[in-house]
Amino acid sequence: MNFILTNIQFDLSAIDSDGLVLVIVGYCIVFMALLLLYLFFRYIIPTILRVKIGKGSSNKSPDSSETNQIVEVTGEVNAAISMALYLYLNELHDEESNILTIKRVSKVYSPWSSKIYGLR
């Protein structure tokens, strides 16, 4: 480790104005991008949907109620949802969900995993 410490040069002067500028501007823009997206979905999209519904047909109204209503949920329900979501995510990560049927069928039969050996 001694070798490492002596060898590496910490050259702070390498951070020139260009680098700093990139860092400051870059981070701001990342914020700006997600801020804009936030503002869009917080204010503009709901407005559009509302306007559309105002003009639109009655069969759109369930949509609108979904969009605007904040549902009160008890802790238990919340927990249940989280659980379900957790399971879903696990599934998503293991990424097996979409080939469930297939897998169940294609499970290769192998005599070595057979029950007659009494090992499983």
């Binding site: 040069q9 823009i29 979905f41 949907l49 969009t67 989280s82 080939i99």
Partner: protein
């Protein structure tokens, strides 16, 4: 404890060893390659018995036993270790198994001498690995992976509580601080940019950006060529993504109070189908107008999501999130692993990249946590955010969201944070892709 040991061992082993062998190996390899027996030029050796001996010698010249160096053995151990981690601890197995096997394949020693091209190594023209590596080198695979990810991601949590997107932006501070760190350690600006993106905690984004900025091809302003850092950057990114459950918890506990960790958040509202369809379209247009450089990644991500949410292209979405992403994952993982050929990979730069990568993840986590606490200062009581979910802003979907869930449950077994953590988690993907786009336009 076992986990801490794991992460420490990775860093130490990789770092130290990479130094130890970076200079010595070239010699060994060189000497082993000098004498290549060319049959036809050797006169008077026509009797079979001496011929067989000669043949055996030639066989031995070509075999791995003759060409092996300490570097090869180190990397083979690293490959085996990756496979072990994947199978034993289930850390990102879909990535670590292909990468680990790739490391094995890429570090089988073979005869590399001037004028001899056996078309085996990933850096040798005409080898299969070289052809498959093309998609890494040109940044083609990562967007295809993003297409599949888009087709399997549900952005509902983000749409229902768009405020949480900002946490995904905050965590990208890791990228920019690491960029500065890499500059300080002597990397050229484009290389530093590619190294910084490790803090984005997205393998495909890291590979994409490094294939554009640190690909061993581009010429810098001072006439030198950038180094090819795709391998170390990708390996660092995936290693730490796999180790998120080890890296994050201590930082999360350090930077939040117990009281904060107990905060319960309002359940998210329901999201309409129209909103779900609007999201990828709006997201694509907004982010691409702000940072056109993020288009290859985010264009594909939102395209995949539109295939999923439009409801009229289910079969395309299905294929994108199964066969297509699987095929690309197999090939990407394998070639990224194989690109760690010892003589290219075991350098002091790789070690520095590993150290910077670890820092990057920690800073990103801290950034998300701190910003969540800052946000809370401006929010009224019933809208307070549990700052733990800020840690999910680093992305590493969905591992860091799970970590949040677990830490939250430890404090209060009835406080499920997962669905809230998913919002910063997926917006972290968007955030780091935007950052990649900016780095690309400024540094290319």
């Amino acid at each position: 404890m076992k986990k801490l040991l794991t992460i420490v061992s990775i860093i130490v082993v990789l770092s130290c060893i990479s130094f130890a062998f970076s200079s010595k190996d070239t010699e060994t390899t060189g000497s082993a390659q000098k004498e290549r027996i060319i049959n036809s030029t050797q006169p008077g050796l026509s009797d079979p018995s001496s011929g067989t001996l000669r043949g055996l010698k030639q066989f031995f010249e070509y075999s791995g036993f003759n060409n092996v160096t300490t570097g090869h053995l180190v990397m083979l151990l690293v490959g085996l270790f990756f496979i072990f981690l994947a199978i034993k601890f289930d850390y990102e197995p879909l990535l670590l198994i292909p990468i680990g096997t790739g490391i094995l394949i890429g570090n089988i020693p073979f005869l590399q001498a001037e004028g001899v091209n056996l078309q085996l190594g990933i850096y040798q023209e005409g080898s299969v690995m070289n052809y498959l590596y093309f998609g890494v080198l040109k940044g083609i695979y990562p967007p295809l992976i993003f297409l599949g990810i888009g087709a399997m991601t549900d952005f509902s949590s983000l749409i229902s509580n768009p405020r949480l997107m900002l946490l995904g932006a905050a965590a990208q501070v890791g990228i920019f601080i690491t960029f500065l760190g890499a500059l300080v350690l002597g990397f050229a600006p484009p290389e530093a940019g590619a190294i910084g993106i490790i803090g984005g905690a997205d393998g495909p984004t890291a590979i994409f950006l490094s294939s554009k900025l640190a690909n061993g091809i581009n010429i810098l302003a001072d006439g030198t060529t950038v180094r090819n850092l795709i391998g170390p950057i990708a390996i660092a990114a995936y290693s730490y993504m796999a180790l998120v459950p080890v890296i994050q918890p201590p930082i999360m506990k350090l930077l939040t109070t117990r009281k904060e960790r107990l905060i319960r958040m309002k359940p998210p509202r329901a999201v309409s189908r129209t909103e779900k369809i609007m999201f990828p379209i709006t997201g694509l247009l907004l982010t691409a107008f702000i940072s056109p450089g993020s288009l290859p990644l985010l264009g594909m991500l939102f395209f995949g999501n539109l295939l999923k949410e439009s409801g009229v292209t289910k079969r395309l979405a299905e294929t994108a999130r199964t066969s297509l992403i699987d095929i690309v994952t197999i090939v990407l993982g394998l070639t990224v692993g194989a690109s760690t050929q010892a003589d290219v990979f075991l350098t002091s730069e790789s070690m520095l990249i590993f150290v910077l990568g670890a820092l990057s993840f920690m800073i990103a986590t801290a950034g998300g946590l701190i910003f969540a606490r800052v946000m809370n200062l401006f929010l009224n009581k019933e809208n307070k955010i549990n700052p733990l979910i800020g840690a999910a802003g680093v992305s590493a979907v969905p591992d860091s969201a799970r970590v949040v869930q677990n830490i939250g449950l430890k404090e209060d077994p009835s406080n499920h944070l997962l669905m809230h953590a998913m919002a910063p988690n997926v917006s972290g993907v968007i955030g780091s892709a935007v950052a990649a786009g900016i780095l690309l336009s400024f540094l290319l």
